[in-house]
């Protein structure tokens, strides 16, 4: 202990309450400056093409994507570089993530980016690939998700998800929440038919069907495409 008393020694490092208050203030500045404008500043100019919320089956598929930790190996963020647009397609726009709770941008590409995977492969390819990745992609290091083919969806569980998403602000109507099982079956059966055409036997409430629904939706909401579609 020095006998020479500095002002900060007396005022700050001797007064714990003041020290804690100042620390709180100092650690708050950066977060406030960076995060608050995300809520207050006008959305980007392309926000007029806000995508439709995920369907109940896609919500179920997304929940499974989260459960299996797909985002630990697959990003959903195409960067505006020549090589990335060549490899994956158009770069990712903020508006495309509008209904993403949680966001699934990922931080590591052990496997390829999936933000533009929708429509890239037939449903049966995904079914095969998820069950046995090496059957479609020899040399792949992805785990085989055999249980997705065996395990069943619970529409009531999916309804709970849709309800909670509605509560945080996703625009699902009361009618849609009531219809969750029917909407799931409708979309699931369409996928099952396409799978059957390719010689794959599946049922609409197989978990893998929901994952396929979600994967086929990914990246199909890009503003560029909609603008072209809307043009006369």
């Amino acid at each position: 202990m020095s006998h020479q008393e500095h002002w900060h020694r007396r005022l700050l490092e001797g007064k714990a309450g003041l020290f804690a208050a100042l620390t709180t203030a100092v650690i708050s500045v950066g977060g406030l400056v960076e995060i608050v404008p995300m809520f207050t500043v006008e959305a980007a100019p392309d926000a007029h093409v806000v995508p439709e919320p995920y369907t109940p089956l896609e919500v179920a598929g997304r929940d499974i994507y989260v459960r299996e930790g797909c985002s630990t190996c697959h990003s959903q963020m195409v960067r505006p570089f020549r090589d990335e647009t060549l490899r994956y397609g158009e770069w990712s726009h903020a508006v495309e993530y509008t209904w993403d709770r949680p966001f699934l941008l990922g931080s590591r590409r052990i496997g390829p980016d999936l933000h533009r995977v929708g429509g890239k492969y037939p449903d049966a390819w995904h079914w095969e690939h998820l069950r046995d990745p090496r059957s479609t992609s020899p040399g792949s290091i992805m785990p085989a998700y055999t249980w997705l083919v065996e395990d069943k969806l619970d529409p009531e569980d999916v309804r709970a998800s849709v309800k909670a998403l509605a509560r945080v602000g996703t625009p699902y109507s009361e009618q849609e929440i009531a219809d969750v099982p029917r909407l799931m079956q409708q979309q699931g059966e369409a996928i099952v038919r396409r799978l059957a055409e390719a010689g794959v036997q599946a049922e609409w409430d197989d978990e893998v069907v929901a994952v396929i629904a979600y994967l086929q939706r990914l990246g199909t909401d890009r503003p560029g495409r909609d603008a072209v579609a809307e043009a006369p």
Partner: protein, 479 residues
Amino acid sequence: MTTATPVEAGPPAYDDDVTRKFVLASVLWAAVGMTVGVIIALQLAWWPANAGVPWLSFGRLRPLHTNAVIFAFACNVIFAGIYYSLPRLLKTPMWSPALSRFHFWGWQAIIVSAAVTLPMGMTQSKEYAELIWPIDVAIAVVFLSLCFNVAKTIARRKVKHLYVAIWFYLSFLITIPVLHVFNNLAIPATLTRSYPVYSGMTDALVQWWYGHNAVGFVLTTPFLGLMYYFLPRAAERPVYSYRLSIIHFWALIFLYIWAGPHHLLYSALPDWAQSLGMVFSIVLLAPSWGGMLNGLLTLKGAWERVRTDPILKFMVVAVSFYGMSTFEGPMMSIRSVNALGHFTSWVVGHVHSGALGWVGMMSFGMLYWLVPRLWNRELYSQKLASTHFWTATIGIVLYTVSMWGAGLTEGLMWRAVDEGGRLRYPAFLDIVQQLEPFYWARVLGGALYLTGALVFAWNLARTILPRASTPDAVPAAAK
């Protein structure tokens, strides 16, 4: 110097029992967390290691590894260090030993519930914030019990001046609840599933504000606090510069918070936020190196002891890795460098040079110093401590170098185009397959580091378990 004398042991008023508990827990979780790390490293080199069962697949085990090493191993080390040093610095026992125990058992219960729920696929998916909402509530309650206990202890302290280490502890205790609460705000759908109140890019920004500062305020500031207490104690030297510690403390905690957006460069986040993240990350180099220099220069006049004393060896390597990774981090935050490195193994290597090098080695140094004093026994083997040091150091180097190699390979192959403007490696799988040797080298590096940690656990067990009193029981008990 590891000879523990009764004079050096704290007066009985200090509650060292809770410190001993946290020490033992940290050693146990180090072994668990690092073992899971080696398993998932193996899964990338050899996919059949996923074993075909859901709860052993990479996507579910990876968050278990990160949570175990950060919140189980590192946090238990921090808590042990705080419960040992804070009362001694303030010459005041902890306000409530009962609350300290609530904190200990509560925290271990949280870890166990994480180890059960994550392999079951119960996750929020946000990195280092994967745990489901009921566990998040428990974390808030248990962590605040520590904050309250520390606040009450400080309020009745017998030493008015707060020592540097305490500033860093306070920044940890204040910032973590703020980060944890705001990043985990969510609406429950079921008991095990919830949806965040933020969506899309806002959710991403809040997450990386949290995620980067989990690195800043769990793996950095509390460990600097530990450095400021245990390094001078081990070296028997005063801290090099008090003034430097003031400047780098305030600069560090102010700047760290801004750096999160460097995780989202070239994403759909607004450009101004990306630029702020990059600029603040680069400036962060200055206060980080302030801490490194203050640590290393504290050893002035004690350098000859670094050659012989394993504790100082661990601490010197820890502080050096702190300097290395806080140089690498700002470089990787530069947009053009990030364009190459982002999404690659380089980032994983960077995290591990900080985690294995700085956090791990600092922890081991502190624990080697602490255990003989807490149990009032001499360390079982200085030679084994030295073996641990070299195994761990070689492990880190192998890990870091293999990830540099893998990262550059990926980054360069992804972006390679030929003269016709076409991708040179259009099949992503071709690039994946180039990484196999690097992945195997990483398995080896991680396994070496784990081996060192197991040698450490054995050494501590032989130190702690009674020898002189019941010599016959030793081999059986130590097994």
